[in-house]
Amino acid sequence: MKDKKIIRALDGVDEEFLLYAMPKKKNYNLTKILSVAASFVIVIGAVIALVLSGVLNGNGGGIVPIPDGGNHGADEGGVVKSPFASADSDYSSLVAIIDRFKNQDDSWMDEDFEVEEDGGVPPATDAPNAPGDSNVSSKPGININGEYVENTDNQVSGIIEGDLMKMTDKYIFRISYPFAESEKNTYYCLKVYSVEKENSALVSEYIIPDFGGRIITLGWEMYLSQDANVITLIFRYRDAEGESRTGVVSLDVSDVENIKETASFSVNASGFSSRMTDGRLLLFCQSYYLKSKIDTSDYSTFIPSVRVGDEIYFINPDNFVLPEDIENSYEASYTTVIMANEKGLDIIDAVSLLGYTSNEYVSENNLFISRGYTEKTYFDEVNGSFESVSDISVIGYSENGFNIKGVVTLPGTIKDQYSLDEKDGHLRVVTTTRCGSLVRPHDYWLALGSTRNASLYVVDLSDNSIVASVENFAPEGEEVSSARFEGDKLYVCTALIRLFTDPVYFFDLSDYSNITYTDTGFIEGFSTSLIDLGEGYLLGVGSEDSIHVKLEAYKKEGNSVVSVSKMLIPGGYSNEYKAYFINREHNLFGFAVRYLVDEQNGRYENGYFLVQLDGESLRVIDIIPVDGLGHAIVRAAMVDGYLYITTYLDFVVKKIEI
């Protein structure tokens, strides 16, 4: 039973959390269990000892203390700097924060407290694979002078996002389900299919190297170079010591039937996302170090590092962004950004941000990495207030590396990368704001009364000042469920998600001194993705209620936003944006749905829905059965009237009649 799988998987939880959660009170009748006879203990002595893996600590192996290594980039002053530490590097500032973190008073975590039933929000969860939109209008896979055109719908034109599928007009490259060599040995592989309409077929398979460890299934990202000769793979794996790492591998695919690995490196990180721009990879890695395991005399226990071959390089201490303190957490977390050449994977630069594990947005000029936390103010010994806040670190980038520019602090939390946008030297941000009262000693954010709403801020990046804002524009209690910037337009969906209600807002940002907006008012359901179809139409993908998927098209009409068409599908879907097929030329949208086919017997099937906004009416073009359907991992592209759908297990080609 899969429910027991989840329950069983909790035995991987950190022991200190289990200890903290262990029931203290005798809340139930204890039944006395009779003691086992001593003879049973004697029998145990004859049993063969088993070696169990899992649970325990382990530092990464093969640590080389601070060599002078890596490529060198130059800062704006032309001074050559290294991404990595050298023998005389000074980590004292970082160590001071980590020592305070280790010594912080956690006793409040053990105290009982009285809290009224509240209407507070769940903690903001990260959304590393958030939805997005794109300026790309070209058809996918068209052969232009032997190159390819991106089939992934990227947030920013020219800033490529990694995906499970990439293609040219000749081939589709697809990360695929474990290749089973035998019952014991399974591997992940790169599959190459030909693009030949009904005659399309599997051309080759390449088993992906696992760094001598064990690849973790989820969260692959892949890039194809502009000349279609190089594939870059990024994935998570466990090394031989059981530590989580992020691996990067470069493959020569100039001959698809003879694929070769050409370079690789790895980072001690358990999560990642990435971008590719102008032949440079930007890798964002998330690292966590449990407080109980940190030893400030051993860098490997609290400093992110890169492994190239057998060498380990710690991030240069000059390249850290440090907050004043990191509080109320059992772990020190970092976002480390690495810039490497797409061809050869030479590392150009690296920066590491302590306490940052939220979202990243990449514009043509800057990286924006956000960190959410709670700011508390105390009026007296007992009473205080709190506010959710986000720090957004602004980091410029160029072919020479990174330039740390500063930090913008805004009220509220940021849902995903699509809540941020840079245009003409201004950063526009949509946040969910939350504030309320605190009572000592139990000053959790889960507190006595709080307000929640959605707000928009415009920041002038020349001095990081807020030059415009629209605060609390949603009904009280609502949070941002999706957002999308398109030039001078902003679309926002806010929702009280438990109640499935969903105003959609259209903002006009052409004049920051006079920002105007209209909305739909309360409508049923909410959207987790907003897709600009062009010509004034917006498509929302989300849920109508707990059992229906909703597609709804909106447009601005006068001073309001109206719904022009809605389609409900009984079933479930994925809010993974990259799993959506979007063709703006024909107003086509495709996604995988587990839908109800037999209401009487409650039977569901998996299908790929191809939907068109035909005039002002949503209609289903086709429902295509596809196997091995994890909704988030389906990818599709259309070439010359044929839809190519890939999953981990299946490859389907269907002629589409529009």
Binding site: K2, D3, K5, I6, I7, A9, L10, G12, V13, D14, E15, E16, L18, L19, Y20, A21, M22, P23, N27, L30, T31, I33, L34, V41, I42, I44, G45, A49, L50, V51, L52, G54, D112, F113, V115, E117, D118, P122, P123, T125, D126, A127, P128, I216, T217, L218, S244, N328, E331, G572, S574, N575, E576, R594, L629, G630, H631, A632, I633, Y648
Partner: protein
């Protein structure tokens, strides 16, 4: 006797390690098992097997927390028993499993083996704030009832229920983001 000394007894292959562990944690383990199995004989069998497994695994394993280590073994043994013998769980556990079944993946979870799922659940729990983490683990690791949790954390039962609902929703989103979904 503190845990380190008990673990040393295991390492020294001193059979009194079992008695020490039982004396210190036996009552706790039997309660944990009873929450899952609801049958006294099954509890006794699983508790004995727990010490058996611990004897076989220590060394080389050196648990940092003996009770956490024993609890994990005990839980898994109890879940194995439910699976292998197709037994009905204790009513409390059945209700808890029903809650989880609201968010469990369908065929997609077969693409994610147990070690991956452990990683994912560990990371998810790390992201929770301390109170939510406590509530979540007391419900789904320690199999406490809502009433028992409410007493532990001194919240109204309605608040605990609401919090559990939100955490499950957050878990569902978390699983979806990682390709595991309904």
């Amino acid at each position: 006797m503190d845990d380190n000394r008990i673990v040393e007894l295991f390492f020294n292959r001193d059979e009194s390690a079992i008695e020490q562990a039982r004396g210190k944690y036996g009552r706790y383990l039997s309660t944990l098992l009873y929450n899952i199995l609801g049958d006294r004989d099954d509890c006794e069998e699983c508790e004995n097997d727990t010490y058996f497994r611990a004897w076989n695994s220590i060394p080389p394993t050196r648990p940092t927390s003996l009770i956490a280590y024993l609890s994990k073994i005990a839980r898994n043994l109890a879940l194995d028993k439910l699976r292998d013998e197709k037994k009905r769980p204790a009513l409390k556990t059945a209700l808890i499993l029903d809650e989880i079944s609201e968010i469990i993946p369908d065929s997609s979870v077969d693409l994610c083996d147990e070690l991956d799922l452990r990683d994912i659940m560990r990371d998810f729990v790390r992201r929770l704030d301390p109170i939510r983490r406590k509530i979540f683990l007391q419900r789904y690791f320690y199999m406490l009832s809502v009433k028992e949790i409410a007493r532990e954390v001194r919240m109204p039962e309605g608040t605990v229920k609401a919090q559990l609902f939100r955490i499950r929703e957050a878990l569902r989103d978390y699983l979806k983001e990682r390709g595991i979904e309904i």
